[in-house]
């Protein structure tokens, strides 16, 4: 019983230090990076937050949501729609408003779609996302296919004093990294709380959870709303970074991409979402590179797709499962813990 109450299980230690090392590397990266690198990694960190939001649903609760981009896009559109046209909005109300918009749509989407299960849930979440997509795409509200520009980025100030300028790419990089670390720690704490264990139970066996006395619907709905809020946060950062939004932010392509990120990284692990977002972005950059592929680079979807198929076929537990897979191959035996257990 003593070991159980300890600060950290011995087998969790390498995972903890791996994650810590990733964050330290990200913090040190601006010291060596140029403009292009800063811009790329900022974007990938935003996708990592987005992937973490979906990991809470798919990996932690077992709810495969195929409409996550709608929540991301609503968070992003809220930034542009709520900002005054020619002056800076304060981040102190714009960020909560943007996150709350996404959470509100998640509440609406979740309360109805969670009445279905399995493949129907996937389809219903897709339908809700498409609904939001067409509202943005085809009504005056969303500014159509061309999207909308954000004229002035929001200000981060205490009283009259500006704390940080979001126009400075390096400052924005730091803000994004801080958000990523905060989201990661928040989810890590959440998942080991009673709420998080209940979500794990719902993923493992919802019928048994109900028989035990857990009303599972409110748990799933709460997870959905939290996930929506985090996706909204990612959307907020994305809109501020580019000062531009368009309907593609809500498209099913993006919902699919973020699903692929967490599958590639390894479902059921927070660091899987982190690794998956980076792997996906690097693969995309690699296959898009004209220096490597020449004229063929415009067919980057093909190379990316084939690589992902190969990864899913060869790495059943994603990239996070690689060390275990190698160890198993080297020692010729499986480790004691079955997959899908405690994270």
């Amino acid at each position: 019983m003593q070991a159980r109450a300890g600060l950290m299980n011995p087998e969790d230690r390498p995972r903890f230090f791996f994650t810590l090392a990733v964050f330290v590397a990200l913090a040190a990266y601006p010291l060596v990076a140029g403009q292009f690198g800063i811009d790329l990694v900022t974007k990938v960190m935003i996708y990592a937050i987005f992937a973490l939001s979906l990991e809470l649903l798919v990996g932690a609760t077992g709810l495969v949501c195929f409409g996550q981009a709608a929540l991301f896009g609503i968070g992003a559109y809220a930034v542009v729609k709520l900002s005054p046209e020619y002056e800076a909005a304060s981040v102190w109300w714009l960020l909560p408003a943007s996150v709350a918009s996404a959470a509100a749509y998640a509440l609406f989407m979740g309360s109805l779609s969670l009445r279905t299960r399995g493949v129907y849930f996937i389809m219903v979440t897709l339908a809700f996302a498409q609904m939001a997509y067409y509202v943005v795409h085809d009504t005056p509200l969303g500014g159509g296919t061309d999207g909308i520009y954000l004229n002035v980025k929001p200000s981060v100030a205490l009283g009259e004093r500006a704390l940080v300028s979001l126009d400075d790419p390096r400052a924005f990089y730091a803000v994004t990294l801080a958000a990523l670390v905060a989201v990661f720690v928040f989810l890590a704490v959440l998942l080991r709380s009673r709420f998080g264990r209940a979500l794990a139970g719902i993923k493992a066996n919802e019928q048994r959870m109900r028989a035990t006395g857990f009303a599972t619907y409110p748990y799933k709905l709460a997870a959905f709303v939290v996930s929506g809020a985090l996706a909204g946060l990612a959307g907020f950062l994305f809109a501020v970074k580019d000062s531009y939004v368009n309907p593609e932010l809500l498209s099913w392509h993006l919902s699919g991409s973020v699903l692929i990120m967490i599958i590639l990284g390894g479902l059921g692990h927070l660091r899987g979402a982190l690794i998956g977002a980076f792997a996906f972005a690097l693969l995309q950059e690699f296959f898009k590179s004209e220096a490597i592929w020449g004229a063929f680079a415009k067919h980057w979807h093909l190379g990316l797709g084939l690589t992902i198929i190969a990864c899913v076929a060869l790495l059943p537990h994603g990239l996070v499962g690689l060390p275990t897979q190698w160890r198993t191959r080297l020692t010729g035996r499986a480790s004691g813990n079955a997959p899908g257990g405690l994270r």
Binding site: G196, A211, F214, G336
Partner: protein, 252 residues
């Protein structure tokens, strides 16, 4: 407090369930008393599991009522009934296969003090659910395999864990759907000893095919055929009934 509680902990009245034209459960009434093992026997398809599902709230009856600890719970959801003291096990083992034995029980115990909004508190530091889980594990004889992944247990141990998870929620009524299925003689003996031990504090409904076991443990037996009760009496009387002999018991 215990004097105030009725001895009939669960009362089913005229429970009927139709699936289209098929009547799976036909006007069944059943009482579960504290200190009694009430066995429900019958051929496959007699409606025993459907009856358990209705009593536990997993499916709604077409008509009839269920009373738990003196309150009408017919309209209550399954989680609410479980919260009120109704535990059940499943015919097909339903565990959290990737979790350890202890975590299976701890999560079950958590249902009693869920604190779903205490997001900053670690679940594994919850003393109340840890204690309840440990007690359930010890009572069912699984202490030696506390840290083993549930999916790696032997069949008999999995069935024991099913019971342990029920006990961890501190129920008053236990609905056990074939807890002895697929067990060897030794495992059966152990499980029957456990049921005998649990009897004092609980009302137990036992759905079971192993007739030797049923006659060893049951205080009352209800026989179902085609969804209806054809006999409900003490074991000796049921054994002696010509109708039951003809319908079901054969050589016993």
């Amino acid at each position: 407090m215990s004097e105030a509680q009725p001895d009939i902990l669960l009362k089913g009245r005229d429970i009927t369930r139709r699936w289209g034209g098929l009547v799976a459960v036909d006007g069944v009434s059943i009482d579960l008393l504290r200190g009694q093992v009430h066995a429900v026997i019958g051929t496959n398809g007699a409606g025993k599991s459907t009856l358990v599902n209705i009593l536990s709230g997993e499916i709604a009856p077409s008509s009839g009522s269920v009373e738990l600890l003196g309150r009408d719970v017919t309209a209550w959801s399954q989680p609410r009934r479980a919260q009120a003291g109704l535990g059940r096990s499943y015919q097909r083992t339903t565990l959290y296969h990737g979790f350890t034995v202890f975590e299976n029980c701890r999560l079950a115990a958590q249902a009693r003090h869920p604190r779903p909004w205490a997001w900053w508190e670690r679940a594994d530091r919850c003393a109340r659910s840890n204690d309840a889980a440990l007690a359930a594990v010890q009572r069912t004889g699984l202490f030696d395999v506390l840290d083993r992944t549930a999916g790696l247990l032997s069949h008999g141990q999995k069935r024991q864990l099913e019971i342990a998870m029920c006990l961890a929620t501190d129920p008053q009524v236990l609905l056990l759907d074939e807890p002895l299925a697929g067990m060897g003689a030794e495992e059966t003996d152990r499980m029957l000893a456990l049921l005998a031990d649990l009897k004092a504090g609980h009302a137990i409904l036992l759905v079971e095919h192993d007739m030797d076991a049923v006659f060893r443990i049951a205080d009352r037996i209800t026989v179902m055929v085609n969804g209806a009760v054809i006999a409900s009496d003490a074991p000796q009387a049921v054994r002696a009934s010509a109708e039951v002999q003809a319908a079901y018991l054969g050589g016993h």
